[in-house]
Amino acid sequence: MSFLLDVLTVAAISAGLFFFLAGSIGLLRFPDALSRLHALTKADNVGLGLVMLGLLPRADGLLAALKLVFVWLLVLLASSMVSQLVARVARRGGSPS
């Protein structure tokens, strides 16, 4: 059982790191603000979600595990809201070009 959980941890965190890497490359390489935002939010949402999933079996106790999930949900909320706001500025032709 603990071996399986270790495999889950390694697999999920590796997959999460891949999304962070892909998101960072997208942020640097994509041509305009909207597609860069798209790349960035993948890292935030899926990447962090997978890292959180990998850390869940290692949390000591149910409360700590719930805190991890809660942190992820808060980041989801913040990143989706902020990317909406940045996208709005970008569409109006504001500075983040």
């Binding site: 808060l74 909320l77 913040a78 809201m81 909406q84 706001l85 709005r88």
Partner: protein
């Protein structure tokens, strides 16, 4: 090389490069962004050193609140930045500045490196006396029991900073509302965030203040989160800061430090020294002081960001 030391090395290289970027960046705004990233990296470094209290403070105040203040300052400077660039100091002056900074940094590095191994520490003495105070978090004990005078002066200095910001107000609007009135689409995304996040943030802020007795956390970090929630409400157009002439506001701004001073001087009578606590009452008095400082700090930090008065009290 172990994994931990590799990670530490990567962190140090990142920290130094972001710090260098902050110094050499041409645009003020770019330098501010560098400074915020530097502060967040620095809080990761504090976590790596197991100084979670310092990390929380660095992230909340050093990077977050100071970052917002600097972004505001850089936005104000943007109009005059191009005009000011020909007035950059010459190569000689900049070279001298760089030399002086390098000497300070080198001096600090030399004195840290020349510390005996293990470095002299009072940590075991603090840990030994933790049970007699009744708190579990050694940092809170040091801040409020052993170095109470520092914490007292810190809490007064932020109020002075706010008075400094208010003093920039033109006479016409003295006593009025801080900052411009914010308008946002009441059905828009910012107003939604301004409604959803504060209930969560207020609980997190109070929780961080409350666990500060036994776990990493405390009044400064908690107050910064509460201030951020209030500022979010202001930015979303859902709340407004009070006019600075309100009496209740001014009472709350001085109440925390005043109570701290009163309890400190009472210590001279009941415990034999200023800022000492009588036996058995240390935990209670420390929590009373922290609870009294919370509203003061929350108001001060939020109003520092809200800025100088710009609208008259009548509207």
């Amino acid at each position: 090389m172990t994994v931990a030391s590799t990670l530490a090395l990567i962190l140090v290289v990142l920290l130094l490069s972001v710090a260098a970027w902050t110094v050499v960046a041409r645009q003020t705004f770019a330098a501010v962004v560098g400074f915020v990233a530097y502060g967040l990296l620095l809080s990761i470094a504090w976590v790596a050193l197991s100084a979670v209290d310092v990390a929380l403070t660095e992230a909340a105040i050093g990077s977050g609140l100071t970052g917002v203040l600097l972004i505001g300052a850089s936005a104000r400077l943007r109009v005059t930045e191009a005009a000011a660039s020909p007035e950059r100091p010459g190569a000689l002056l900049r070279g001298l500045g760089a030399l002086a900074s390098a000497m300070v940094a080198g001096g600090i590095a030399a004195s840290v490196l020349s510390l005996p191994e293990p470095a002299p520490t009072l940590a075991p003495a603090v840990a030994e006396h933790l049970p007699s105070i009744g708190l579990g978090n050694a940092v809170t004990v040091v801040l409020l029991a052993y170095r109470g005078i520092d914490t007292l002066l810190e809490s007064i200095v932020v109020v002075f900073a706010l008075i400094g910001v208010w003093s920039l107000a033109p006479d016409r609007v003295w006593g009025g509302y801080p900052g411009p009135r914010q308008y946002a689409d009441p059905n828009g995304i910012l107003a939604y965030l301004g409604r959803v996040l504060p209930p969560i943030g207020i609980i997190v802020g109070v929780y961080i203040f409350w666990v500060g007795a036994d776990l990493p956390g405390g009044k400064f970090q908690g107050a910064t989160i509460l201030a951020a929630m209030w500022l979010l409400g202001m930015m979303a157009g859902l709340a407004d800061a009070p006019p600075i002439s309100r009496t209740w506001l001014r009472i709350l701004l001085v109440a925390g430090p005043l109570l701290f001073i009163a309890i400190g001087f009472a210590g001279a009578l009941t415990a034999g020294a200023v800022l000492a606590y009588p036996d058995g009452y240390a935990k209670l008095l420390i929590k009373v002081i922290e609870a009294a400082l919370m509203p003061t700090l929350t108001l001060t930090l939020a109003l520092l960001v809200a800025g100088r008065p710009e609208r008259t009290a009548r509207g």
